[in-house]
């Protein structure tokens, strides 16, 4: 009798557990893939590929120089919860390596199944020395890291992201691929529009504060002839500044490009000596108002440059 009651109790418990699992199963299936990216640009591209299947957060806030970012305790927690990590690479987000060591999760560390270096497969420009970061046999060297500023490179970046998402969430692989194709089709049509708008600037000499624009220049055939800050973090010397001003006058440079976080004072000084206009562009999603996603980032930049050229 007692044994029968015990058996009945166990059956009820088992049924309850099975019922709970059955209820929980759809919610597991619906759980979104949590992705951590280092920059807002990669977050935007991840959202373009993942759609509502992913929940992406970026570590570096918009408008902050990702190369100078100082990680916070919450970043470790974000990485501990992440199913996928996507970084810029090319020594741009070197601080991430220490953070990953603290996280202690090999799957999101170099070589792990949930680790994506978005620069993999990118045709790197201006490669001059060897990498200062830890290599894994695929060292990218210290080429210019602003590769996301060529919209064509979004094909490679999204391919890296889609491949990783499909690996960790194979059930939704067709969705990721369809999202990616739709995004690239939209990007392609926008690219033609941007090229047309910047057509008048082809070959026009431009000076930038910092060398963030070679990929953008290559795609839109812009001629960045010089930079105010020749070495990152080192203010220009008088003779450098004198040379830039002389060259700008000689070549008739009328546009100086700077980013929001770069010193306005130095750019305005050069502009005052040459009669050039200073135009502030966004090198990252969220760096300027209306640059809310990857496509609007280019919309804003193209619009600003085109309107400056028209003046």
């Amino acid at each position: 009798m007692c044994g029968l009651a015990l058996f009945s109790d166990m059956t009820q418990r088992s049924a309850l557990i099975v019922a709970l699992f059955a209820l929980a199963a759809p919610s597991f299936a619906q759980e979104r893939v949590s992705v951590v990216t280092t920059t807002t640009d990669l977050r935007s591209l991840t959202e373009a590929v993942g759609g509502d299947r992913v929940e992406a957060v970026s570590i570096v806030p918009p408008n902050m120089d990702a190369e100078d970012y100082q990680p916070k305790p919450q970043d470790v927690l974000r990485l501990k919860r992440a199913r996928l990590l996507i970084r810029v690479g090319l020594d741009y987000d070197l601080w991430l390596d220490r953070l990953l060591t603290q996280t202690g999760r090999p799957e999101i560390s170099r070589g792990g199944a949930a680790y994506v270096d978005a620069s993999f497969g990118i045709a790197v420009l201006e490669l001059r020395g060897m990498s200062v970061g830890p290599g894994d046999g695929h060292a990218h060297g210290s080429g210019n890291p602003h590769y996301w500023l060529d919209p064509k490179n979004a094909e490679t970046i999204t391919a890296n992201i889609a491949e990783a998402l499909e690996r960790i969430d194979p059930a939704n692989a067709p969705t990721y691929e369809a999202n990616r194709q739709a995004f690239l089709a939209r990007l392609e049509s926008k690219l033609q529009e941007w090229k047309m708008k910047l057509g008048s600037l082809q070959g026009v000499p431009i000076v930038a504060y910092h060398n963030s624009w070679p990929y953008f220049a290559r795609r839109f055939r812009l001629d960045f002839v010089s930079f105010i800050e020749m070495k990152p973090g080192v203010p220009p010397s008088p003779s450098q500044l004198a040379t830039i001003i002389r060259d700008m006058r000689a070549r008739g440079v009328h546009i100086i490009v700077r980013e929001q976080q770069e010193p306005e004072r130095d750019a305005l000084f050069v502009a005052s000596k040459t009669g050039a206009q200073v135009v502030t562009l966004a090198a990252s999603v969220g760096a300027l108002p209306r640059a809310d996603d990857y496509i609007s980032l280019f919309d804003v930049n193209v619009e600003k440059l085109a309107s400056t050229a028209g003046k």
């Binding site: 201006e126 490669l127 220049a217 003779s239 010193p263």
Partner: protein, 418 residues
């Protein structure tokens, strides 16, 4: 070249003269009060005020931002005025240091909520005297003249031990000066303008007018030298000027005993100091060479950099050939990599744009050239290290002998005693 330099640098020089004018005076006051780092604390407070304004949505260069900076500086002036009263138990410099670190940390916490303010804060504290304009001179001159006049009128009250009110007046006016000057020239240069001319003035003169006159003369001369050095040697201006000021203080320190004390004794002690330092460097290098011949040898490296022919003293003919060969190859790879980079850069705007495949090929070649160059540099380092390892004992002995010869050891007296 000369005319271009003058044309380019004279607004910066005029600005430097204005900054030296007011800061040399405040420097003498600051040295007398023993609150050397007060300008750093006030600058940081002003930056904190500007950060608050920026977070509230005011543009960087607006009057509202200046108002917030000034308000924060005045609050800090009240606090600093009180610190003198507390200095009996805790040194005033310690309290000033606390004000500085708390202001800096608070600004970082605020910036964490408004990342676009980070660069703004950096700009407030870094400045760049090279890009200063005559418009800025026109703004600061009346301000500095007014503050100078106020200090002259209140000189008796401000010079003395002072009540809380006069302490506040001193720190408030100093705060106004620092708020404007740091934004123009940066924290490092303003600190140099403040302390170094005043220190040299105090070193060589006793009355305030003489200290001030000497500080002004030295400050203006060193500023001109710093600007010239920055132009000729292609160096960042602020850093070059700070180093020029540092050198001037070192020279003043070396000259002081010669001009003010027993001249013969001063020269002898200076020579002895130089000889002891040289001997210590030589002996340290000897020890380093003997213990770790494959490690960096700073003294030998500097000597070889200045006179490359020195390598022939210890490299065999075969080693010298390998070294030269590797150097030539490394340079060739660098040039070829630069040519490829230039070819890609030119293709962005002229002629047929390179397709992604061609760019990827160039990128691949560049990586290879980088590796090959690194390999050649490794060969050069290895050849040199092996040769140095071979001569370690002889070279160490030579360096030690040189150290003993250079050191001002009284050999005769020692031999007589023995």
């Amino acid at each position: 070249m000369m005319i271009e330099a003058i044309q380019f640098l004279w607004p910066s020089f005029v600005m430097a003269v204005c900054l030296v004018g007011i800061h040399a005076y405040f420097g003498i006051m600051v040295l007398a009060r023993k609150v050397i780092f007060v300008d750093l604390a006030l600058a940081q407070i002003a930056a904190l005020g500007a950060t608050v304004a920026f977070m509230l949505g005011h543009p960087a260069q607006s009057m509202a931002t200046y108002g917030y900076s000034l308000a924060c500086t005045l609050i800090a002036a009240v606090l600093l005025a009180f610190t003198r009263a507390w200095a009996a138990r805790v040194p005033q410099e310690a309290l000033i240091g606390v004000v500085y670190v708390v202001a800096a940390a608070t600004a970082i916490l605020l910036i964490d909520r408004a990342p676009q303010g980070a660069e703004h804060l950096k700009q407030i504290l870094t400045g760049n005297i090279l890009t200063s304009s005559l418009n800025e001179v026109a703004v600061i001159v009346p301000l500095y003249v007014a503050i100078g006049l106020l200090h002259w009128l209140l000189r008796r009250r401000l010079m003395g031990s002072g009540s809380l009110v006069w302490e506040f007046v001193f720190y408030a006016t100093f705060g106004v000066v620092v708020t404007s000057s740091v934004a123009i020239a940066g924290v490092l240069l303003v600190f140099s303008f403040l302390i170094i001319p005043a220190a040299i003035g105090v070193m060589f003169a006793h009355s305030l007018p003489r200290q001030l006159a000497l500080g002004w003369l030295i400050g203006i001369f060193v500023s001109a030298m710093g600007l010239a050095v920055s132009f000729v040697f292609d160096l960042p201006t602020g850093a070059a000027m700070v180093c020029a000021f540092g050198t001037s203080l070192a020279l003043a320190g070396a000259l002081y005993p010669v001009l003010r004390g027993d001249r013969r004794w001063a020269i002898r002690s200076t020579v002895a100091t130089v000889r002891w330092i040289s001997a210590a460097i030589l002996a340290g290098s000897a020890l380093q060479f003997a213990v770790a011949p494959r490690a960096d040898q700073p003294l030998i490296d500097v000597a070889e950099y200045a006179v490359p022919a020195l390598r022939t003293l210890y490299l065999t003919r075969a080693e010298a050939t390998t070294f030269a060969d590797a150097g030539e190859h490394a340079e060739r790879y660098r040039k070829e990599a630069e040519q490829l980079n230039e070819r890609e850069r030119r293709s962005r705007t002229g002629g047929q744009v390179l397709d992604d495949y061609s760019v990827a090929r160039i990128s691949s070649f560049l990586k290879s050239y980088g590796e090959m160059r690194k390999g050649e540099q490794f060969v050069m380092a290895e050849v040199r290290m092996r040769a140095r390892e071979r001569i370690r004992w002889g070279a160490s002995l030579g360096l030690l002998t040189a150290a003993l010869l250079v050191a001002p050891i009284p050999w005769r007296r020692l031999s007589r005693r023995s």
